[in-house]
């Protein structure tokens, strides 16, 4: 299982760049091919033993029947492997993109934190300006109009400071969600690797079974010929 898995990873990585641009329709095509091959295999595999029961043991059609089903099985599992390889390559590319997004969003969260600090600094500065202007307005009443405007600006900055505070908090929360999402992507990829390895193991076992079935057909022929020779001698 491990070997199949590592071969699969190498193959997936090698084909990653080529398959990166593979769109959903291409995946859909591969899936349809795999479904078609599965249907074709099922059609010949389900009554293989019944058909063989009606054929004499040494009739070449007996071995041919097993070979036909075995080939259909290999075609099915080969198409399945192609499909899973393409799915995985696409999935790995997605995961790489989301990891890059996480890097970018972590930086953006740091910037949001700095913007919060900037807004806070502006708030302090405008408060100082307001206090100074209030003092000056006592000396010069004409300053009351700009004083009112400055108060409005201070209120706007206060509102924005609160908003940036909230944004910095939500940026951190979003990054935490994204980090968890990357883990989910990685879990999906791991599951796909396991699925691919399992399909390869199944492929090996089906081939082993059909080899054994062929071997039995040959054995049936052999013992039939031995029986015929024995009867001939008597």
């Amino acid at each position: 299982m491990k070997r199949a898995s590592s071969v699969f990873i190498c193959a997936a990585l090698l084909s990653c760049a080529a398959v990166h641009a593979q769109d959903a329709s291409q995946l859909s095509t591969l899936e349809q091919i795999a479904q078609k091959r599965t249907a074709e295999w099922e059609a010949v595999a389900k009554d293989m033993n019944e058909r063989m029961a009606r054929i004499l043991p040494c009739d070449p059609r007996a071995l041919a029947a097993v070979t036909e089903v075995s080939r259909a099985s290999e075609a099915r599992l080969g198409a399945l492997a192609d499909y899973l390889r393409a799915v995985s390559a696409r999935a790995f590319a997605e995961t790489a993109n989301v990891r890059n997004l996480l890097d970018a969003e972590e930086k953006r969260a740091v910037e949001a934190d700095l913007e919060r600090a900037d807004a806070s600094q502006e708030q302090t500065a405008v408060n100082t300006q307001s206090e100074d202007l209030a003092q000056s307005a006592r000396q010069r009443t004409s300053l009351e109009v700009p004083q009112k405007l400055l108060a409005d600006i201070a209120a706007m900055i206060h509102q924005r400071t609160a908003a940036t505070e909230q944004q910095a908090g939500s940026a951190d929360a979003a990054v935490a969600l994204l980090r968890a999402l990357v883990e989910k992507f990685e879990a999906r990829d791991a599951a796909l690797r396991e699925e691919f390895a399992a399909s390869e193991a199944e492929r090996t076992r089906w081939n082993g079974y059909y080899a054994a079935r062929r071997s039995r057909a040959q054995m049936e022929c052999t013992i039939t010929q031995i029986g015929a020779r024995s009867q001939g001698k008597q």
């Binding site: 899936e31 599965t38 099922e42 595999a45 389900k46 033993n49 799915v87 999935a91 993109n97 890059n100 997004l101 970018a104 969003e105 953006r108 700095l114 900037d118 500065a125 300006q129 307001s130 100074d132 003092q135 000056s136 307005a137 000396q139 010069r140 009443t141 004409s142 300053l143 009351e144 109009v145 700009p146 405007l149 409005d152 600006i153 706007m156 900055i157 924005r160 944004q167 939500s170 929360a173 979003a174 969600l177 968890a180 999402l181 989910k184 879990a187 599951a191 796909l192 396991e194 699925e195 399992a198 193991a201 199944e202 076992r205 080899a211 054994a212 079935r213 039995r216 054995m219 031995i226």
Partner: protein, 363 residues
Amino acid sequence: MRHSRLLRMGLLICCATGLIGQTGRDAYRQAYNIWQQAQANLERDAGTGGDPQVAQADRAAAAVGSFEATRVAYLKSAAAEAIERRKILKAPATRSSPDLMPPSVGNLATVELQTVTRAIARFATDKDPAIQQLRQSMERERVALAALMDTIQARQKTVAATSAAAVALEQARAKTSAAFDDQSSQLSQTVAQMEKEGAAWAQYYDKLAGAIQIPNATAPEPAPPVSTAPSVLTEAPRNESISPVPLVRYVGEWNYPVANGIFHGAQPESVDLEVHENNGHAGGTLKMRFKPSPGVKDPTLQFTFKGDIAATPTQKFTLMTSDGTPGSIELIPGPAFNLLEVNFQTDPRANKIRGGNFILLKK
């Protein structure tokens, strides 16, 4: 002015590409520091100040305009980049199809296993050596099928695990995408808020400069000036501008950007504009050098202009070139506080530049 719209469109593109200023945080922090230096102690001195504080208010207005424009550009750029890179969260994640693991696969193997097991049982007591060989062959087949059944079940489990992982991933993706959508929305609101603040600061400094020049009966007597210059409080008060936009949008020193300047018609190489205002009257000088063009032997042009400030955003003045040719000039505030569009025309002269239209940056 038929080319104004073209110029403005070009200008917006330039803003987007960072022509006007860098869009990084460092750039707006630098602009912020310049503003803070420009406005240092302005409010404290406003009660007793005069012309120096009026000039300082104008400098502060220009600096805050530059700061707000730089920061808004930075935030817009950051927001646009964020939206672009977060697009990957909009698409459902790839998953494998569970349809490729139909139950019939397991059923088929099960039937084969049962059949061969029954056959083995039928020959269990047969002592015939040939039959025993056949039975052994069937036994190998049964072992292969049993092993196959194990792998089929294992694969069924992995398919189920992949499906479960895909469902969990999809839920997390939708939740994360929604969280980032909220963030983008908040950022857009902040940008809108900052644009309002930019306009408010310009209005504030304009009113502040005006208020500083209004003498106050209750104001304390200023100390006698050391020089013979008249006290600022005894000077004629600054007229309230009738222009719908602050005077700082026109007044000051401007030049043509070294790179990626916006123009229509003759291409400027360098432009220096100085605009001053006094009691509703404006004037200034414009010195230009244009890039060589057919039919123009003298690429330089210099003129002075003057006129009254009008109650319209576009200010139109008469001009007189250094060699006595008359003409007219329009000053149009740009979309950012540190931008000014200039459009001028002179009477026709042989081998000379007759007109120009370009955007200047405030020094």
